[in-house]
């Protein structure tokens, strides 16, 4: 590292990495909210489960943890579908308070279950690429971060193609835009609920895997703060807007890291909510709120 620009670039990369985790979480939340109009406060627990599923398979198989995305995503989809079917569907439309308390209850249930299964000691695993660094514009960066950013982009492209090009994706978007209209057109909206919840949980599971391979520690209680950030992002980006979640995630990731660098780590969380307040004052529907999908 030779000068100020290099440092800015390095902090920017850390911000993009943080943004990737936030984007995957926030898009999942947005999908669920867009289709079901449910606010799932337990969404961060899916991130945590994704991390532990990756850890477990890594411990058993010794596979490259990136490959374990093929385990964490489907398992989290399955868990998401099960939770939607058992917990949210019975109370859908019975009032927001019920949804809120169900999701808060799920936080404690999932955390405690994880603590029983994996204990509440912190865990950390090391990526097989951890010793490899590459030069990006003169800055040496661990290869893992490049892989994480590219993996996130690939997941987003896959999601875009699914939502735009497949019948199922189009049906989900239709349900998101007008639930009654979609029902009248013969779309099984309950199936759409289940699929959107599953995909939302799967995306959080992918975020959990990427969290683990980046060398961050994880415990059963790790999900709450990222979930709060994801909520801030979907409000900044606009409720239900996937482009909003992407832009919001990048803004928050960069803002947090530049805040740490300039005014100190104690401001990391405060800056997220400062941005949230500013956006709500000038654009109460969020940055992409009007063009919500």
């Amino acid at each position: 590292m030779t000068g100020g620009l290099d440092i800015v670039l390095q902090v920017g990369i850390w911000g993009l990495y943080a943004g990737c985790i936030y984007i995957l979480l926030a898009i999942g939340l947005n999908l669920i909210f867009g289709v079901m109009k449910v606010v799932n406060f337990a969404h961060g627990e899916f991130l945590m489960l994704g991390a532990y599923v990756t850890f477990t398979f890594y411990a058993i198989s010794g596979f490259n943890p990136y490959v374990l995305l093929v385990a964490s995503v489907p398992i989290l989809i399955l868990i998401g579908v099960t939770i939607e079917r058992l917990c949210f569907r019975p109370i859908l439309g019975t009032g927001k308070l019920n949804e809120i308390f169900i999701s808060i209850g799920l936080i404690y249930l999932i955390q405690n279950a994880a603590a029983v299964i994996w204990t509440d000691e912190y865990r950390i695993i090391h990526s097989p690429f951890e010793s490899i660094t590459i030069s990006v514009f003169g800055v040496n960066l661990p290869l893992d971060y490049l892989i994480i950013i590219i993996t996130t982009i690939l997941i987003l492209i896959g999601l875009y193609l699914f939502l735009r090009k497949t019948r199922l994706g189009k049906a989900m978007r239709a349900t998101s835009q007008n639930r009654k209209g979609a029902m009248l057109m013969g779309i099984n909206v309950e199936k759409m609920d289940m699929i959107s919840f599953g995909i939302g949980a799967g995306l959080a599971g992918a975020a959990g895997t990427l969290w683990v391979v980046s060398g961050q520690v994880f415990t059963p209680y790790m999900g709450s703060i990222p979930a709060v950030k994801a909520f801030a992002i979907i409000i900044i980006g606009g409720l239900g807007s996937i482009p909003g979640a992407i832009v919001g995630g990048i803004i928050l990731g960069l803002a947090e890291n530049f805040a740490i660098f300039t005014i100190g780590g104690a401001w990391k969380d405060a800056i997220s909510f400062l941005i949230l307040i500013v956006v709500l004052i000038f654009k109460p529907t969020g940055l992409f709120g009007e063009s919500a999908e």
Binding site: G215, V217, F261, A266
Partner: protein
């Protein structure tokens, strides 16, 4: 009708007599035991430490009971110790509930344990209301016994305070690391050491930072604190903070963090940011999980300690430390941590005080704890004695510094004691990859 009345009368009299009998029995039967409440985080984020605290307390109580219990002169006999668990759930509110129950429902005679200064501070008012002797063996902020808003005259601090640990580590930096760097790189011997401090944004972290600055000022040390960076408790992403530290270019990075934070921080510093500096970890990190979690990235870093799973100071406590670790392993499996060690001692301190007081009366036990003079047990103490200062009721520890050296057999680093001179096993080493800071 008359028969019904007679039956009811007999039943009534019987019930009264029965009630009387039980009350009488209870009066005759108590007190038969020394009840010690163990305040431990059995659930929540600090539960690893909490279990260690509880298990160590159980080991101490079992040992004392097996040796015949505690002699209480007033009762004219030995009583056994009964431990009562109070789970603070790793939260302030949980701690208040647990301590309130231990005191008002379980009627404990004294309390031990207490992890986290914030959690202990929150339930100190309950302890003060009932004047229960409390030997705090976890929390490290000196505020525990220094505060003036709550009466703390029944609270005894049997853990190094942040003043003690921060102070001793700073002296070590000046005494050992600074001369070694200056000699190795041909710097003038009076070149000040460049120190960066990364601290948890909590009373614990701020206490460490204050202690460093106070010690530098008080002893006029040649150390410049060139950067101070705080992070939120529980943080797991330190890359930007570390980039900021790298920009400051220190010789040494002093980290005041808990185990889960420290592991991630050092890993990210060496792996992601390429910070080729000497890292210093505070005493709560000397835990087997730290060595397994940090891997090679911990090599040559420094860890402050008072009770280590892998380094036993030679000398008077060596035998008792080995016995404690072996007994713990036999009973529970694995290693005890330092808060476990302090709690193990705290149970002995409590039992010793009851014997000295000759009574279970809380006021007399409190006075006896204040007058404790016991030989050190499994942690090295100043003057080889466990006693409490008359002003703030703090026991004083002999902390030591370990350097982590790679062990090919264990495939992990292992600590060797490098300071102070009376305990050291080997000299402090500056690794080849180390790069000193530049102006």
């Amino acid at each position: 009708m008359k028969r019904v009345f007679v039956i009811l009368a007999v039943l009534f009299i019987g019930l009264v007599l029965f009630a009387g009998c039980t009350e009488n029995q209870a009066a005759v039967g108590s007190p038969q035991k020394l009840k010690i409440g163990v305040v431990a985080s059995m659930t929540g984020p600090a539960s690893t430490t909490g279990k260690d605290v509880w298990q160590s307390a159980v080991l101490a109580a079992d040992e004392i009971n097996a040796a015949g219990g505690v002699y209480v002169k007033e009762l004219g006999k030995n009583v056994t110790i009964e431990l009562v668990q109070g789970d603070d759930e790793s939260t302030r509110e949980g701690g208040q509930k647990a301590v309130s129950k231990l005191i008002t429902q379980d009627n404990v005679d004294l309390l031990v344990g207490g992890f986290s200064s914030a959690v202990v501070s929150a339930h100190e008012s309950t302890v003060a209301d009932y004047s229960v002797p409390y030997i705090v063996s976890g929390a490290s902020s000196p505020i525990i016994t220094h505060r003036t808003d709550v009466k703390t005259d029944t609270v005894f601090h049997h853990a190094p305070t942040t003043d003690d640990s921060g102070g001793q580590t700073t002296l070590f930096i000046d005494d050992t690391i600074r001369p070694a760097i200056n000699a190795k790189f041909g710097f003038p011997s009076d070149r000040p050491l460049r120190l960066s401090v990364i601290y948890q944004d909590s009373p614990y972290g701020k206490g460490q930072l204050d202690a460093i600055k106070k010690t530098i000022a008080a002893s006029n040390l040649s150390i410049n604190v060139i950067s101070e960076d705080a992070f939120k408790m529980g943080e797991s992403d330190f890359r930007t903070v570390l980039t900021s530290v790298k920009n400051a270019d220190p010789d040494v990075v002093y980290v005041a963090a808990f185990l889960n934070e420290q592991t991630a921080l050092v890993t990210q510093a060496r792996r992601d940011v390429g910070l080729d500096k000497i890292f210093i970890a505070v005493e709560c990190n000397d835990d087997p999980d730290y060595y397994s979690g940090i891997g090679r990235y911990g090599e040559y870093s420094i860890i402050q300690s008072r009770f280590s799973p892998y380094a036993v100071p030679s000398g008077p406590i060596e035998q008792s430390v080995n016995k404690f670790m072996s007994d713990f392993d036999k009973k529970w499996g694995g290693f005890p941590g330092m808060m476990g060690a302090a709690t193990y001692e705290a149970v002995y301190i409590g039992a010793n005080a009851v014997e000295d007081a000759g009574s279970l009366n809380k006021t007399r036990v409190n006075e006896a704890i204040g007058g404790t003079t016991m030989p050190q047990m499994v942690e090295a103490m100043k003057n080889e004695t466990i006693s409490f200062t008359p002003d703030f009721r703090e026991s004083k520890f002999d902390l030591y510094m370990e350097q982590l050296i790679w062990n090919e057999t264990a495939k992990e680093t292992r600590p060797v004691i490098v300071w102070p001179a009376k305990l050291k096993e080997t000299d402090f080493v500056i690794p080849d990859w180390f790069k000193p800071g530049q102006e």
